[in-house]
Symmetry: C2
Amino acid sequence: MARIVMKFGGTSVADLDRIANAAARVKDEVEAGHKVIVTVSAMAGVTNQLVGYVDQTSRMYDAREYDAIVSSGEQVTSGLMALRLQEMGVPARSWLGWQIPLRTNDVHGKARIEAIETEEISGRFAEGQVAVVAGFQGISPNNRITTLGRGGTDTTAVALAAAFRADRCDIYTDVDGVYTTDPRIVAKARKIDKISFEEMLEMASQGAKVLQTRSVELAMNHGVRLQVRSSFEMSDGTLVVDEDEIVEQQIVSGIAYSRDEAKITLVQVSDKPGVAAAIFGPLTQASINVDMIVQSVSPDGERTDMTFTVSKADLERARTALEDHRDEIGYREMLSDADVVKISVIGIGMRSHAGVAQTMFSTLAEKGINIQVISTSEIKISTLVAEEYTELALRALHTAYGLDAH
Amino acid sequence: MARIVMKFGGTSVADLDRIANAAARVKDEVEAGHKVIVTVSAMAGVTNQLVGYVDQTSRMYDAREYDAIVSSGEQVTSGLMALRLQEMGVPARSWLGWQIPLRTNDVHGKARIEAIETEEISGRFAEGQVAVVAGFQGISPNNRITTLGRGGTDTTAVALAAAFRADRCDIYTDVDGVYTTDPRIVAKARKIDKISFEEMLEMASQGAKVLQTRSVELAMNHGVRLQVRSSFEMSDGTLVVDEDEIVEQQIVSGIAYSRDEAKITLVQVSDKPGVAAAIFGPLTQASINVDMIVQSVSPDGERTDMTFTVSKADLERARTALEDHRDEIGYREMLSDADVVKISVIGIGMRSHAGVAQTMFSTLAEKGINIQVISTSEIKISTLVAEEYTELALRALHTAYGLDAH
């Protein structure tokens, strides 16, 4: 008898039929003798509708009210899931963040979980009751509803699995696992049976949308065995596990891409100490994250060009912040380009194999694709290229690294 | 400087524009120097949609889950109203039932308010903050969300007014006050400037939909000055006050009607002690309320016909319960009729004026309308007639009691 956390995303609870379908999956696990905690997202589209209401009501909205409004979507699905389970003869009860309580800090809109009290729900476990937890939400020290950021129900699921020492945390979604790359673009993409936490973390943070980055990080830190699987098919999904559980490691496990990138170049910045701080200080103040950074060396050593990327949504605000600080920074011109894509090759095997980067560079060169920016980590190489090459680059790299399905 | 509770119903917060319009009314009161508590219903249609989800998910639903689901509508509007007020420069904060807390008993679906803690919100008052309370909801002793029954936000408003000792409780709605009768049927209906609690209570319980019956009862018991007024027009509404505040009392203040009636007749019941208990016991067990009752005396004194009314929604269940107990009751035949309407003439002046009932009977007789059942209270006469006469009866009675506008 295992303890299992089952998470159903927005497309898996998009309407009453799908909620019934998800409930049937829960019933299967209960009948197999397992203790089950379910956590659910809002019905697909509901969160966007609520966010739309907020955006139309207030330009600079109060994040406490945003959270109170937006968290209501999960409240509805958790109640409906509990009802549906009851209707199927499975004892169930819904739990909102404040009822558990699932305590977070007070950073509304992207709160971090600080503690989950397990006493109440554990008591119900003993009575054979399934707990249906509203995802994405918690309660702040000030007794206000908080939300965990978009995709936060993944984090709820992993945090519950850690708190309740679950044997498995199954993430049910509309795909049947993690793929070597996006199968909508690369027909030969393969489902990965097992992937390490580190690789999954890079895949998620480099654009693969199947899991929220923070949830993978949390699973890694607490050793929660994650499984990504389909709500609609009965097949096995992808297991996300410790590196040492993977017997035969791939050099490259997957290729991620992110279109949510925009490039900014400051031309002829003076090449002196403190200039990086002058540039990135105003961006930090405006809560804009900078991702890739490259500084090109000038021939005379006195002036340099600085190129970096921000998310597309932040581009206009970043430009404004940099214009406002033009005098302190001292650049000749600001260029920007939102038509770029970041393509990342990810694999633990890179640590011990040379030539992985070279394969990427030569493959892209062969296809005539110019690399604009490069960044690397221990298990990842990312390149920024023009967005129009997305499909071409992904297919070529997928073949070059031997990932194509037979 | 007064303390005011302002309640906005579903049509008054039906979309973002209407929420903005309602917020402007709140701002007016704040700028006039008043301390304001706002309470809101769900956007028109939302509660019905959520109830529909529940009905489709579970045949015999768990009322605790029903409440968790259905209360989310008010959560959204309270947040949006707070945001809109902030956007207009009015400090505001939303409050859910569990945050106040507004404590109720555990009768889910139609809970009764037991206590409202005022400390937190009073503290914010001192800082000039408007409290926006989600209507219709509270928290049970078991830490579960409860709801107060349909139209429950009226009750929330009055209970808040009582707890905070508000000088006024304004119920904003889509009509500009309480009318002598339904103006959609009787063109000459007049808006009533002042009406007593007792009359309003009869109006509401006899079918006038402008205020929930329980909220009037609560206002009466706590001496809360109610005002029913329009969200869309700036005119004064109807004040609901103590009887002694009304200088010139009308003999008849208004005429209410309810189409939600069905008549059942049990033919040839034996006229012996205990038969009423045998009939109404099974209905009580099935939670079916019986309203009007008339027992016709048989010539021989041995058998009698028993006629009574239930709400239309309960008719089939009532018939089933009575058929199941046919042997104990011992009737020859059961007849029923759902095409009936209850018309009620209401007025405090009735207490001291004779002939009010006679006017009703003769007016209906003149129009050839047969009275099927009669029931009276100190300030009300109700008659059950065939539904097709509704409009004719209302117009004739409105004229007969001198209520027509000039």
